[in-house]
Symmetry: C2
Subunit: 341 residues, 2 copies
DNA sequence: CTGAAAGCGCTTACAG
DNA sequence: CTGAAAGCGCTTACAG
């Protein structure tokens, strides 16, 4: 690769002058600008972003820390949004090989040694030391689905609470009273707000909360199976199950059918996420739609705004959620007897 | 961040010496090594990878060019493999915001200005100028599913041809003779070898090739729907359809059922990829399994070998494929009448 | 309008 | 075993 010195020599000017035309400084005569441009063309010169970054302190790269498998459809959609927003921004995306479980590893050291301009974090538990260190470091940060903030850190989430509330209301309107909830990982902000939505929904119709109707999981297909097995063993089994993710809902449906029961004939199931497969599944899944792609796009747009201006206020944005009714929910099969309350 | 100068001052030595202990040079006395290590500890110093890269010419980052949406399950699995292999390698992954359609854009310029140590490319048509430029540039490269090679460029693919051949054989064993093929994008190496496998399968049983039984698509769900519609309009419609991807197979099944026909009752369908959803789908999909995760892992392992040693021969690796029989294929419903041949 | 010089944070011969 | 110096490819005051 030709360097800036080669160009300077070729054009018969100083490297300072070459730098000025590259960076569109106004105080360069048209004539030397021409000469330089020609030399650049001739040598196919491209400025070295790395070297530039060393002096300007900007790397034109944003880092991403995603502590969840890429095979999770939610992650895929998020990444797709991130990618879209990055497209003509001039920034590239770096996926850090973070060793979060290694006590000697420091995520911010990693970011700083890479000169990252900003970072988006997803899927890290809120109490992981990295979160706090990141906030203190002053590196522009956007947290996805984690309600952390800081001087230079904002966050973006779906309106999880309302989403689950809507799901519960929908089931109640269909006559269900025995509504269970297959939750996510306790302590995670996402999980807490969804659980709150579940409780909101019950309370709005004065349905008492039953501890045995809430079982935790990890958003996976498998935890849908396991959780549902437990629910089906209950003396009074639920007639509807709200799930913390579509994958979990798929698992739930599988487990229900494995018992010879049907969805939605015997039990209604609703998911959360509205991944592409929700529509393909049989029965097509009633679920809560999240604007995941949009969350990806906005996380980057906001991050770039923060990078560009030190006093851009760190945003806290909530994306709406909505209920998509399909085939996995139906009227409660038998009128609920009085003993439920 | 503390710099190497700060450490040198703190330890009372020169920066050269600090550099030597960082890089584990043997010729440093134990005593000064101690002093330096303490200073590093004290200042929480971490070497700047960027600055180091400027002088060593290595960036410890590998680039990835993926010209297919992340929401494609195949891509997700590939990325997951790539991520796994990178985990403790010291390398980070950079996803380049490549503007492949912009004539002023050059992918290798991009790679070079970022100082990338190597790159894995996936989903770029073989005749795109970037491929050739990349090969000529001498940047260590691994192509996934593209049979390009070069001085410093290897590739890795699934045994596509055999995979489809097995699918066809399976259908023939079930009594099918009218076997259609929903292909991918013409000209892409993956497509050509799969098509060859289809022809192999027919030929092995002396079933004549019918042009109208092959329709091209783009691996998507939608192209499965469109392609199948065409097949169903044929005077003599196929009794089995082999698809170039699982997503396309899902689309095919949808289109078949939309006509009031059943799978596999009326028509058998087989996919390609064996994505996670293949098992969940109803009917569970008979498909060709690819070791996608393994392809991701190996592409990085081989790439790193090439980076580390200039004379590591660029590998050409083929991963096996295998048929997974599930519920979407069954015996051919009606004995095929003589007119087929 | 142009260029010499210092510096970003490192590494690497080389001399002592 | 240690350090002064040059250099990686750039940008940025500053002087002229």
């Amino acid at each position: 690769m030709a360097s800036i010195h080669d160009v300077a020599k070729e054009a018969g000017v100083s490297v300072a002058t070459v730098s000025k035309v590259i960076n569109h400084y106004p105080d360069v005569s048209e004539k030397t600008r021409r000469k330089v441009k020609n030399a650049i063309e001739l040598l196919r010169y491209r400025p070295n972003v790395i070297a530039r970054g060393l002096v300007t302190g900007r790397s034109w790269t944003v880092g991403v820390l995603i502590n969840i498998p890429f095979t999770n459809p939610y992650v895929s959609m998020l990444l797709e949004g991130i990618k879209t927003a990055l497209e003509n921004s001039g920034y590239d995306l770096m996926r850090l090989s973070a060793r979060l479980n290694d006590p000697d590893y420091s995520f911010i050291d990693h970011c700083q040694s890479r000169n990252l301009d900003g970072v988006v974090v997803f899927g890290v538990e809120k109490d992981h030391r990295s979160i706090q260190e990141l906030i203190e470091s002053g590196i522009p940060t956007m947290f996805v689905d984690t309600d952390a903030t800081g001087q230079r850190a904002g966050n973006i989430t779906t309106d999880n609470r309302n989403g689950v509330h809507k799901a519960v209301r929908h089931l109640i309107e269909l006559g269900h009273q025995r509504i269970a909830y297959l939750a996510g990982i306790p302590g995670q902000p996402v999980n807490e707000s969804r659980l709150a939505g579940y409780l909101d929904g019950l309370k709005a119709s004065s349905i008492p909360y039953r501890e045995e109707y809430v079982v935790n999981g990890d958003y996976s297909y498998d935890s849908g199976i396991q959780g549902t097995k437990k629910l089906l063993e209950l003396a009074q089994r639920p007639t509807a199950i709200v799930c913390t993710s579509d994958m979990t809902a798929f698992g739930a449906i599988h487990a229900i059918e494995a018992q010879g029961l049907t969805v939605p004939g015997d039990i209604s199931v609703v998911g959360f996420d509205n991944i592409f497969e929700a529509e393909l599944f049989k029965p097509a899944l009633t679920t809560i739609n999240q604007h995941i792609h949009s969350i990806g796009v906005k996380s980057i747009e906001e991050l770039i705004s923060m990078i560009k201006s030190a006093d851009y206020p760190p945003p806290v944005v909530t994306e709406p959620s909505s209920l998509i009714v399909r085939e996995s929910t139906a009227r409660c099969p038998e009128p609920v007897s009085g003993d439920v309350h």
